[in-house]
Symmetry: none
Subunit: 233 residues, 4 copies
DNA sequence: AATGAATGAGTTTTCATTCAT
DNA sequence: CATGAATGAAAACTCATTCAT
């Protein structure tokens, strides 16, 4: 299995790299093949069509995120929230993080036109908002957060952080007062939205130093059944 | 010139329609030609390359927005801000508004890979944030807004509204508690961010009923220089 | 029109040549493009798919035959029948004739698998048998043929001549007693089937010397509407 | 050997089935592999190339026919001739019979382009015509047939029956007066060609009820030498 | 200004074949 | 014997762009 999984993983890594180098619109099977040092034919051996491959990649991307989010579930709510915000904009391994968002942004532009991709984007939205909502609920139970409408707040936070991230990526290096777009917006949303929500005496850990979710390079094994379906019996 | 302008306008309208029907990645010159009932050759007569055409279209899109924003500059700040928010998510002519955002979203995915497009996206960001910042300054001067960091607040509002809009478009009909994503987020941002910013006794006009920017169909003439110059630096 | 028709004609001639050089199974669009000194793209400009092109070609082939058959309709029945038989196996321009049959044979192998091709083959069968049946009826009316079952006889003659022709083509130069397969069979079918059908004193003209249908190279104009449907308006 | 033969037989059966389902032009090794529930690799283990496999299949097809024909050699000539005709068009197990002819028809279209296939088609022609010729000679010796040119008559009969069969297969369900093409033509050829050839008082057994050649399912062992030798001269 | 015809470079996909196991 | 993984070569088809008119 380790060998099989490795091929699938190499392909996923290839999509990842190719996607951020070329963008969705200019992404060719050849680009992906080059990015993982395999042949185009092999990609088609594992995934019937380009779309199948990209859909599998989206699934992979989201599943990876889910596992990372789940991995921090035992920490206090304030730390988890700080980690979530940090993941959007303060990761020291900026490059790696940015690539995740670029990949998602690129595929996102296909949402309005491709049902299969849209259904994955919807899943990713449920995962994002669900994660934040769960953190908020935990905080309210713990007494560290004032009671607020959890769904609305989650929607606001995700929209804001995602919007900031998207703008930063697409505009590249557009700074506000010498800081990145995402950092500026994240700080402001903490000041204006999150701090007022915290119970008296509670403080959000510094998003600059909080440990971001999972260690970055934990291998996420790809279940062959999920996305490998060569044509032969 | 009226005739020239009309052809250019028809082409721009064609790009607009083709872009939301096919998306950037699958947009062909033929799609655009079909959408404006012209021949591919004619598009190439006016714009040397497909990229030239799309860049001209982005310029057109942003200029149109600028004029609309400028047109409301004589209204009070609270009304202007309500109108800006409404433009993102409460326009009764939902379809038309959505198309603007789809068009922008599609081209945005090219930002990281295309300098010419990115420079236009940067301009559009300056226009968006600049408009909000100017409204905030006006409100502070008028005394209807408490003094806040104008740049930060503008960045936050634009990121939030844009993020919500983007998610709504790409996810299509993902609702939060029976409302659209954008509406939910807009209401929440008003509650948590804008209302606390208003001076005592001041109220934001209802975003559901405020008049949204400019009349939608004012013709925006397209300067020939913008579209004929072939490659730019 | 002459110019348009010329392009369509050149393409048809290219299919004709490519088909006999490569056979249906190994026929590529490139083969056809080479055979008419055009680009593959041009073929796709005029015909959306390879299948469309081949279907158009079959239509062209059958229509051409129909016109040739119709052209001899004023001759006496015995002469027409002799000409029909000669067309199958005694044409002095053997090469040209053989190509028609090779083309038909190749496409025929697709009959059981392709509805559109099969419907054309059915049309060609109606034309072949109809032509013979009409000749027989004319002969019976003229009194040169004994009354026979016209449909059955036409079916027999077409099956026999076609079967002989097919075998000759696929076996290549399989001779019976130093004559070609088709010649042998044609002579035998004249002796055993046709001669007994002739009225007393009537003789079938010599199939070796009778004039075969139409002059071979009359241009058959191809109605653009029938088979040209580029995508542009 | 029984096990070896069984694998080879399964493969031959696979070619048979795949050929009639997909046709020669669209026949892939994968189709054949699927049709015999084996892997592509196994096919290549037994036959170096696709062409080798198809040539072996043709050999198999013809050998099978030969054995069937030989098996009836002790019956009277009229019965053998009726059985031969019946085999073309009156077999109660119509489906099975039709598949033989489809398979042959499909490979036949390659005759003009492939020497190895053509040589097998020539062999099949010799077998067919030889069988009929031998029957005719036997009949003449027995005194049931009038003396006729045996070669010519055999050529005529084979061409006619084959031509009818081919048309029926490629046109599918083209009937003449409510009967199948082959039946109509077979009846007519009996009336016009065979009956006049019979000695006075002799009658051809009813082709509808005569026993057709061999029992259909006798296993035909495949000589290993035939299929293992790779390319032949 | 406008178009239809034409093309070259490239795209996804297919497929016979090979190879390691 | 038998298979799954892998690949190179080629297939149909696409598309931005050019050109003659």
């Amino acid at each position: 299995m380790s060998d099989d999984a490795s091929t699938a993983e190499e392909i996923m890594a290839g999509v990842y790299r190719a996607l951020r180098e070329h963008g969705y619109a200019d992404l060719t099977m050849q680009d992906i093949a080059d990015a993982c040092s395999k042949s185009k034919s092999l990609l088609h051996y594992h995934y019937d069509t380009k779309e199948d491959l990209l859909v599998a990649f989206l699934d992979h991307l989201i599943t990876t995120f889910e596992r990372r989010a789940a991995a921090g579930a035992d920490r206090p709510a304030t730390e988890r929230l700080a980690a979530f915000i940090a993941w959007f904009g303060f990761d020291p391994d900026e490059t790696d993080r940015e690539h995740f968002h670029i990949a998602l942004l690129e595929l996102r532009s296909q949402g309005p036109f491709n049902d299969r991709i849209r259904s994955r984007l919807q899943r990713s939205d449920r995962v994002f908002r669900g994660t934040v909502a769960e953190i908020l609920e935990q905080g309210i139970e713990e007494g560290t957060f004032e009671p607020v409408d959890v769904q609305e707040t989650a929607a606001l936070l995700v929209a804001t952080l995602d919007g900031a991230r998207t703008r930063q990526i697409t505009l590249d290096e557009m700074d506000v007062d010498g800081d990145t777009y995402t950092r500026t917006v994240a700080r402001t949303v903490i000041d204006r939205v999150i701090d007022p929500m915290l119970a008296a005496g509670v403080e959000l850990p510094d998003v600059e130093t909080v440990e971001v979710l999972l260690p970055r390079d934990e291998p996420v094994s790809i279940a062959p059944a999920d996305r490998m379906d060569g044509r032969e019996a």
